[in-house]
Each structure stands twice: as structure tokens, then as C-alpha cells.
């Protein structure tokens, strides 16, 4: 859907989710945002009935890269990040069967060959983790070379993407 983020109230600053970070909120007016999604993966999760929403910005696919770091900072990795995000949402009353998951990012350079394929691996790791958690992906905007900023609007549960001069919901 091509439109504008018309409900982005300039007087209300979004809660920013940094690289290797996640946040869970339960305020109906809150907005979560994460910037500079290159090969990183952005995940939004929303339970309308419990009014609990969360956003995750993962850097790398697999916590085996550094199990110690994954314990300290689970959101750095897709596998431990999704688990941490979901657990934090469950603690606030969200239920798995109601959670709507959306993904963005996992971009690639212009060249399809070579060893800079972390975006693909992040995406594959997310599908695997969500499948194991019995969760479907309800929307996504992944791949390609464009930069992305991802928003979750708690008022509506919508996930929007701002990329270059475009804004659209997924």
C-alpha cells in the first residue's frame, strides 16, 4: 500500500530501537521505530487484545557466533532475539495465537554472489525461529538494496516502512 505515515504525530517521538536491541510496550499511543536496516533484520510483533507490541533489530543470524554475548545481549542474534522478544511479550500478557509478526530488512548488496550474505542468513534464521515457535509471518519487506526504517504503531497495530522517498504499510 503506497501512502504516507499520516498518523506520525511530530510532537510524539517514537521509542527508538537500536541495533542489537528490542523493546516491548503496552501503551496504545506508543510508536516503536528502528532505523538503518541494511542486512539486519527488523521484527515487529503485536497482540491487539492484550495491547502489547514489540520490535527487534538483529545484527546476525546465529547465537553460536558468541554464546556469551548472546546471553548478555540476546537481541544481537536472530535466534535468541526472537525468543527474548516473545518471552518479554508473554510476560506482559500477550498470547502466541494472537501475535502478528512482520519482518523487514535482510538486504543485500547489488551483487548477488560472494560472502556478504548475512541478510539472507538473517531472513532464513527468522523463518526457522518463527516456525519453531509456531508463528506465521503476516507481512514482510525483505531483500533488495534499499535502506529501511521500520515503525510499529500501537494505536492500530500497523507496521510501516519508510524507504528513500516511499512510505508503505506491510
Amino acid at each position: 500500500m503506497m501512502s504516507t505515515i499520516h498518523f506520525l504525530d511530530p510532537s510524539r517521538a517514537p521509542v527508538s530501537v537500536g541495533i542489537s536491541d528490542f523493546k516491548v510496550v503496552n501503551q496504545p499511543g506508543a510508536i516503536l521505530a528502528t532505523h538503518s536496516l541494511g542486512s539486519c533484520l527488523g521484527v515487529t510483533a503485536f497482540d491487539a487484545e492484550a495491547m502489547v507490541g514489540g520490535m527487534l533489530h538483529c545484527l546476525l543470524p546465529d547465537s553460536k557466533t558468541s554464546p556469551d554475548r548472546a546471553r548478555q545481549r540476546p537481541a544481537m542474534f536472530v535466534d535468541t532475539g526472537i525468543e527474548a522478544l516473545l518471552n518479554a511479550m508473554y510476560e506482559q500478557g500477550a498470547q502466541r495465537r494472537r501475535i502478528v509478526i512482520k519482518l523487514a530488512g535482510a538486504g543485500q548488496f547489488l551483487d548477488k554472489q560472494g560472502h556478504f550474505r548475512i541478510g539472507d542468513k538473517n531472513y532464513a534464521a527468522a523463518r526457522k525461529s518463527l516456525w519453531k515457535s509456531n508463528l506465521l509471518i503476516r507481512g514482510e519487506d525483505c531483500g533488495g538494496s534499499k535502506p529501511r526504517t521500520m515503525y510499529l504503531f500501537m494505536a492500530t497495530g500497523e507496521t510501516w516502512i519508510r524507504s528513500m522517498s516511499e512510505e508503505y504499510s506491510i
Binding site: H35, S36, G38, L60, R69, M76, L110, F116, P147
Partner: protein, 285 residues
């Protein structure tokens, strides 16, 4: 498009480095330098000394030598080329921290990208089992100074460049060459040369999007800067409107023996390394 000499020559309007930094770079590039010369240059410039001190401690956090209490003690323990890296990066910090509106980069974005790439050069070398090349950090740190030159010295209009990138799906440096006849690698290299930086640093900046063009003796350094730059952009560290609109060199990957595992480990270390530099960055906020 053919290069417009008039446009390209605007680089010559670039401001000089501070007198202290320029003097320090000159002294540290001199093989016959004496520690006293550097010390006397720093004596009257506590801000530069302080910036160098904190940067040195952050970059070499795992090295027991950084426990020293002063920059002069540190300089006595590290080689002149390493001290040169601290001086040059310290001198350029405030410039690179400025927002680049043409590139859609907020305050500190270019500085963080520069730091990540500087650290990344060393991490990629380590992952690939290569020795740290001389001036590794500085070559990564300065590779994109041409972006700053384009915005603040040459006052270039980036709109047609991004129109081309978005409509035709080409790389940033290709679009720049099409629109202006030169790209930010060339402008950065020329500015660095004018400021008296060593040849290796200038050539690494010039070749960071086309590492195959680097002189044979500097190819490894150019490959490392190319790969570290790509990893930093991939991780979204200080990237702007260009996203991932770049080509990566499979020849560089082959020459370095670079693998996806190396990429993941280097990105991981880069992220952690930047956290250690947060104090230096925040001092600039």
C-alpha cells in the same frame, strides 16, 4: 560524463587541518622524528591530546600498554605510525561528526561509520589470518572523507545521484561518476593528499570501491578497507539514503580468503568495538 575540472578543483578550497594536527602528522610521518618534537607540539593543544588519549585507549582496549596515564606515555610505547592514526583521527573527528544532509546522514553517522570501518580493517585482517597492515585504522577511518568534502567543501547537489541510484539500481560511486565525472573516492584521496596523509591512506581511500585499482603493494590494505566498509554498511552502521547500493569485489574476497564466517565474526567485533568507543563519541555529542 566528462569530469568538470572546475567542479573537481573545488577540493582545493578544503580547510587545512589544525596547525597542531598538521604539525603532528608531519612529525610522525618523519622516520627520524624524536618523541620530544611530538610532545612539544601537543603541549599547547590539550583538546587534541585528550582526544588522542581517549581514542588510543578505546582502540587498543585489550592492550596492556594503554594503562598509561598520559598521551605522552602512550606515544612512547606505540610506533609513530600508530600515534599518527590517533592524531589524524582526533583532528578530523569534529568534521566527520557533522550531518551530511545530501546523503541523508544524521549528526555522528559518518563519524560512526568511519570508526566502524577503521576498526573493521583490523578485525577483518585478524579473521583472515593476516598481519595488521600499517595505518590500518586510519585508512578505514578516512576512506569516506570524500563524502564530507562533497557536502561541505564542494557543495555538490546529491539529488541527481540518488535519482539515478533509485531509478536505475546502480551503485553510489557509479552514479557519482555519471553525474559529476568523479566520485567521492577520488575527492577524498585528493583531500587526504593535500593534508599530507601518507600515500597508503590516500590510495586506500581512492580504491575503496574499486580495490583492484590500488597499487600492487597496497592491494591488501585496499581490499581490507573495501571489505570493512561493506560490512559496516551491511550492519547499518552510519549508513544513509544509499542503503546497500554498492558493488562488492569478489576478487578482494578471494585475495583475502574472506568467508561468510569471517564476515559474521568481523561484524560482531565491530559492534563490540564501537561500544568501547562510545565515550570518545559522546565527548563529541
Amino acid at each position: 560524463m566528462n569530469q568538470s575540472p572546475e567542479l573537481f578543483n573545488r577540493i582545493d578550497d578544503a580547510p587545512p587541518l589544525s596547525e597542531a594536527a598538521a604539525g603532528l602528522i608531519e612529525v610522525l610521518c618523519d622516520d627520524d622524528m624524536e618523541a620530544g618534537e611530538a610532545a612539544s607540539l601537543l603541549a599547547g593543544h590539550p583538546e587534541l591530546a585528550d582526544s588522542m588519549f581517549h581514542l588510543a585507549r578505546a582502540i587498543h582496549a585489550d592492550d596492556p600498554r594503554v594503562e598509561s596515564e598520559s598521551i605522552l606515555n602512550l606515544m612512547n610505547q606505540f610506533s609513530p605510525s600508530v600515534c599518527l592514526e590517533w592524531a589524524a583521527a582526533g583532528a578530523m573527528r569534529d568534521w566527520l561528526a557533522q550531518p551530511l544532509r545530501g546523503f541523508g546522514m544524521a549528526k555522528n553517522d559518518l563519524l560512526v561509520h568511519s570508526l566502524a570501518t577503521g576498526l573493521g580493517v583490523e578485525y577483518v585482517a585478524r579473521e583472515c589470518g593476516l598481519p595488521r597492515p600499517p595505518l590500518a585504522f586510519l585508512s578505514g577511518f578516512t576512506h569516506d572523507v570524500g563524502l564530507w568534502i562533497g557536502e561541505f567543501v564542494m557543495h555538490l547537489d546529491f539529488t541527481p545521484v540518488f535519482d539515478l541510484i533509485h531509478k536505475q539500481g546502480i551503485a553510489v560511486d557509479e552514479a557519482e561518476r555519471f553525474v559529476w565525472g568523479f566520485d567521492h573516492s577520488q575527492t577524498g584521496a585528493r583531500a587526504l593528499s593535500r593534508w599530507g596523509f601518507p600515500v597508503a591512506v590516500c590510495e586506500a581511500a581512492r580504491a575503496h570501491h574499486q580495490p583492484g585499482l590500488a597499487p600492487e603493494n597496497l592491494k591488501t590494505l585496499a581490499d581490507l578497507v573495501h571489505v570493512a566498509d561493506a560490512l559496516s554498511r551491511m550492519a547499518g552502521i552510519g549508513s544513509g539514503r544509499e542503503g546497500l547500493s554498492f558493488h562488492t569485489s569478489s576478487d578482494s574476497e578471494k585475495r583475502l580468503g574472506f568467508t561468510t564466517h569471517h564476515a559474521e565474526m568481523a561484524v560482531f567485533r565491530m559492534h563490540d568495538g564501537l561500544e568501547k568507543l562510545s565515550g570518545w563519541l559522546n565527548a563529541n555529542a
